[in-house]
């Protein structure tokens, strides 16, 4: 029993934190978001480091590491609210890797791993997937249906219309597809979506961590009535609650990532729990962060809104907290052990 990263994993986390502090500062996040385009130099650098292929087998040009390592990167990208197609590409890669045929994997994974041929994932409802990250720039789109099936489509076979969400740091599109468009992903789709949920949860944990740190720093610094506001319990207890929510979501997320690599029979419950916990935590923590900052927190200038908006949109991708809690309850009632 050792619930801590290995030395290598700690190194990955530290390196990612340091790199993104320089390459994805709030100034750069703002410039990219307001400019309506990703910072291409950031993406090129992430590709040179091999990040997009971190969890993809070496046979397909990836680094061959596990979901824990991918989750570490996703958490740090969330912490930096980085604008890049990393997340959508990673989620698409997980689906194709888990549910694709040998042929599909050989065709798509090498490009996903080096970032030259990007993938993404969308959830179809009534003939269209309304909010698909980076669909307009993806070479291949995984469309999930309500029955647990998945199809692989190329942009030419579907209609892709750019849409804009509250998270303007990310590109989204609406994808409309005929039911028989593209080809089916015939393998274990759930194994792919479970992993994708864990990665989304990790990004949400990173977002929450950043919002908490900014709030604590502000509460130490900002004085009213000649006292740092963090000395008032109404404020300090909000901050304590942020830690409570963030650490809880982190425990669930790391466990889900670990189980994907080491105990896959526990992954379905663990992934649903991680996504539910991280969605709730990240939305609550980023909302509290605005409250702790007071009026300044409500301004465009204060940068907190990048975190709040990313938390809101990430939390709703691949099913919100309630859908995951319903799944947890069903699995618990069916006697599937949580651990």
């Amino acid at each position: 029993m050792n619930f801590d990263f290995t030395e290598d994993q700690h190194t990955i986390k530290r390196t990612a934190r340091e790199l993104l502090a320089k390459r994805s500062s709030f100034e750069r996040v703002r410039a990219a978001a307001e400019g309506g385009a990703y910072d291409e130099t950031l993406w090129v650098e992430l590709c040179e480091l091999g990040w997009p292929g971190i969890a993809i087998s070496e046979d397909f040009g990836g680094l061959g590491l596990g979901l824990v390592e991918l989750v570490i990167l996703a958490e740090e990208l969330g912490y930096a609210v980085a604008g890049s197609p990393f997340l959508s590409n990673a989620l698409g890669g997980l689906l194709i890797d888990q549910a694709g045929s040998d042929e599909q994997r050989a065709r798509w994974l090498p490009g996903i791993a080096d970032g030259t041929v990007r993938a993404t994932v969308g959830v179809v409802k009534d003939g269209a997937a309304p909010v698909v990250p980076d669909a307009a720039s993806a070479a291949v789109i995984v469309l999930l249906d309500a029955e647990g099936g998945a199809r692989l489509v190329e942009p030419a076979a579907v209609t892709v219309e750019p849409v804009s969400s509250i998270d303007i740091g990310r590109r989204f599109a609406r994808v409309t597809a005929a039911e028989d468009a593209g080809e089916p992903l015939a393998g274990d789709v759930a194994a792919g979506t479970d992993r994708a949920e864990a990665v989304l949860a990790a990004e949400l944990v990173g977002v929450a961590q950043r919002a908490m740190e900014l709030s604590v720093a502000y509460a130490k610094d900002r004085k009213q009535f000649d006292t740092p506001i963090g000395a008032y319990q109404a404020v300090s207890h909000l901050c304590a609650q942020m830690l409570f929510d963030t650490e809880g979501a982190r425990s669930a997320t790391y466990f889900a990532a670990w189980s994907a690599d080491a105990a896959p029979e526990q992954l379905p419950v663990a992934a649903a729990m991680a996504k539910a916990a991280a969605a709730d935590a990240s939305r609550a923590v980023t909302a509290s962060a605005i409250q702790v900052h007071g009026g300044i927190g409500f301004t465009w200038e204060a940068d907190l809104h990048w975190l709040y908006k990313r938390a809101q949109v990430d939390a709703s991708l691949l099913g919100g907290a309630r859908a995951h809690r319903a799944r947890v309850a069903r699995l618990a009632a069916a006697g599937v052990p949580a651990a």
């Binding site: 130490k220 901050c239 304590a240 650490e247 539910a276 309630r322 309850a329």
Partner: protein, 377 residues
Amino acid sequence: MDLTFSESELAFRDEFRSWLQANEVPPAPEGEDEQYRHRRDWQRRLYDGGWAAVHWPREYGGRDATLVEAAIFYEEMARARAPFPANVLGLLLAGPTIMTWGTEEQKSRYLLPIMSAEEIWCQGFSEPEAGSDLAALKTRAVKDGDEWVVTGQKVWTSGAQYSKWCMLVARTDQDAPKHKGLTYFILDMEQPGVEVVPLRQITGESEFNELFISEARIPDANVLGGVGNGWKVALTTLMNERAGLAFGLQVALKVRLDELTETAAARGLLDDPVVADKLGDLHVKCEILRLTAYRGLTATMKYGQPGPEGSLTKLMWSSTNQQLMQTAVDVLGPEALLTDSPWSFDLLRSRGNTIEGGTTEILKNIVAERVLGLPRK
């Protein structure tokens, strides 16, 4: 990261499981005195089997269990629905405090009878005017020859009516700053100056007592950790509070939650999306509690002290336990509020969870100040 038990941890678990199978837990009787005797008899069986104090060093009769093994021990106890040993305060609080601060004489005098349940211990810390602000306590001890004469009042003293000894913190220097003038004593409860008055709780039971101390006498040899050093010694006791219990409480919570989920499923209530949402939420929180407790253990083993996770598990457990009991009433309806339903007692008892062992507000202060580094008012 490896969230499986090692070979030796599994061997420890299997050994204790087979012992539990061979020593089936008898059903709990009705009545407080009967329940106390039930718990004392259970502790004696644990002691005879060598399982009473797994986390104690071998030299004091324990098993030198690692933190993970101690966690496994409490998880298995809860899974077998075994009661807490009668002398739980002695085993978890008094014993480790004596090991840290006691003289050789004190160690050889007190430790063995704690383990065998021969001598039960209670904790005399809180007072009517010193709850969260413990160092404001007023119980006085005045030196008289080679004895101390103690007068004051303690409250929330669980098990006092069954106890031989009390971990007592009293003020021995009226002039010193409030944290400096305290001394930690071992008080003999069997003397005329000590009166135990049951304190009836909202459950109707009297798990706790008030302690009226009037010129009770304590020999100088029963000072623990030195005169004027009581605050530090008391912190040792408080740090040990619930360190291991968290794992038992966590599993006990899971056992009840599974029971509720099963009942709800059998009645077709999981088709109600609100019920499914509430139960799903509890399962998520329950699992997060377990995982965070294990993260805390890893941090303690690696860095020698609990990380931020340590301060969070009590907060998580208490709020989740309350939420579980309230949800049970929502899901099961009014029959859960009848006095013969186990849920009605637990609903009432759970109100104490966010007060005992550090209120939620004090724990949030601790998290804010010591983990997040926010300023004190």
